[in-house]
């Protein structure tokens, strides 16, 4: 298992953003669904080793992120796209991806080819030498995805990766996720149900800091059977049904 979490909590002051989450997952694309403020981003940030949990146990890639050396080993094999990607406006696309490849301690001899591969995979070959300040929001999102996959991560964490992408780019991104998910664990946090249906083999639904559903997209869809849950698509109705049940 690449991700093993038990009874994980994270508090910010008096607010419990994550309240006793347990989950295990291996290779494949895993969707993390939930409304705004459900705790998805906080959970992802803990898995990215950006913030530690307030309590509970977390092991990533078989290692303990609380230990400095093991955390460093995890980070070498980690890809992370934050919800708000900060960037350096004066860097070009290639410079930005290369910078983070170097900070991930990739072998210097492999960096150039890995950067070119990542930039092509997200369809930014034509913009490789463009300054980041000249790119659109969707392009910047793809730059963020390129830096996340540049080291061929074994654990890829993407927070709202399709935000700002047009339909064609979203389809292309889902193909990349499925490809990476064949050998790595990909966890995608999103509030767009159709992304989960198209790309994820398993899905968890979070609400108020807790996981209220864990299963396959088909199982989530089936939860709407016999209910009057709202939604335009079957998966959306399953999502609404589970949320309504959790809040009742």
């Amino acid at each position: 298992m690449n991700v093993e979490i038990s009874d994980l909590t994270r508090k910010f002051g008096r607010t419990r953003a994550v309240a006793g989450v347990s989950m295990q997952t291996g290779a494949g694309v895993f969707g993390l669904l939930g409304p705004n403020g459900a705790g998805k981003t906080s959970l992802l940030r803990m898995m990215a080793t950006v913030i530690p949990p307030s309590s509970g146990r977390i092991r990533l890639l078989g290692r303990d992120p609380d230990d400095y050396r093991e955390r460093r080993q995890i980070r070498r094999r980690l890809g992370y796209l934050p919800q708000n990607l900060g960037y350096y406006p004066g860097f070009t696309v290639v410079e930005f991806v290369e910078y983070f490849a170097l900070l991930k301690e990739m072998p210097a001899a492999e960096v150039h080819r890995a950067v070119a591969t990542a930039v092509e995979r997200v369809g930014l070959g034509d913009q490789a030498r463009a300054k980041l300040r000249t790119l659109s929001g969707g392009m910047l999102r793809r730059v963020g995805i390129a830096q996340a996959i540049v080291n061929e991560p074994e654990l890829l964490l993407l927070d709202e990766p399709t935000a700002g992408l047009d339909p064609e780019q979203r389809v292309a991104l889902r193909a990349v996720l499925r490809e990476v998910g064949q050998r790595a664990t990909v966890i995608v946090s999103t509030h767009l149900v159709e992304d989960v249906g198209a790309a994820c083999g398993r899905v968890a639904l979070m609400d108020r800091g807790k996981i209220v559903f864990h299963g396959t997209p088909d199982e989530l869809t089936a939860r709407a059977t016999g209910t009057s849950a709202a939604g335009d698509a079957p998966l959306e109705r399953g999502y609404s049904a589970v949320l309504a049940e959790a809040r009742s």
Binding site: I51, L103, H112, V119
Partner: protein, 240 residues
């Protein structure tokens, strides 16, 4: 005939072992490749980390424009010192260094701070290397300017300790306020207050850099600021 057929098959479908995507990636890797300059290669060799070296050469206050501006200000200080006999270089150097340190990095100032916080080369290590390099460069430029101004040796070296304290203040404020400009303001204002207080008590502008009684307070202050930076850049534990 058999040879003709094989030839035709090759023309129609191409040799089976050529992966054009792979070839294109190889071309892209060569075309887009950035060739590190000598300072970056040297830094990479010294620090044993290409990532740290890249972070160092992209530090805003180590870029050529900033270094040239620093040099020009210190040269003006040299000329003023020679004209008036007052060691202006000693008064300018700490304030300039404080501005440079505030723009060195700062986890709060870095726009990609969250991404940087998930990297194998830690953001604290990047901060340490960048701040040390900026401080070292400013100290070297200041000492060269101090020597050229003809000031007494005690004055030439006297500002190094207060500069440490002022830089510590600028870095701490920039980190806590998440703003390099706030760090610059704090550093420069702190130094101005110190200089003016020196004048008020002794009637001499240069008391802040020539009075050896202040050495320990300066060092203690710098230590406190370093502790604040360490605390503010720690991985947040538990509640906050």
């Amino acid at each position: 005939m058999t040879g003709d057929r094989e030839h035709r098959v090759q023309i129609e479908h191409g040799p089976p072992d050529v992966d054009l995507g792979r070839v294109w990636i190889g071309v892209g890797a060569q075309v887009w490749r950035r060739h590190p300059r000598a300072p970056e290669r040297l830094a990479g060799w010294l620090l044993r980390s290409p990532g740290l070296a890249r972070a160092l050469v992209t530090t805003p206050s180590l870029l050529l424009g900033w270094v040239l501006a620093t040099t020009v200000v210190l040269l003006a200080g040299v000329l003023a010192t020679r004209e008036t006999g007052t060691p202006y270089v000693a008064l300018l150097a700490p304030a300039i260094a404080a501005a440079g340190i505030a723009y060195a990095y700062g986890p709060g100032v870095d726009p990609a701070w969250e991404l940087s916080g998930s990297m194998a080369v830690s953001d604290r290590m990047v901060l340490l290397v960048r701040a040390s390099a900026v401080f070292g460069l400013n100290a070297a430029l200041g000492l060269a300017a101090g020597g050229a101004s003809g000031a007494a040796t005690a004055v030439t070296f006297g500002w190094l300790i207060p500069m440490t304290a002022v830089c510590g203040l600028a870095l701490a404020v920039a980190t806590l306020a998440q703003s390099a400009n706030a760090g610059v303001a704090a550093g420069v204002a702190g130094w101005a207050i110190t200089v003016l207080c020196g004048q008020a008590t002794t009637g001499r502008f240069t008391a802040a850099v020539t009075d050896s009684v202040l050495v320990l307070p300066y060092l203690a202050f710098a230590g406190c600021c370093a502790a604040i930076v360490l605390y503010a850049t720690r991985i947040q534990r538990g509640t906050r």
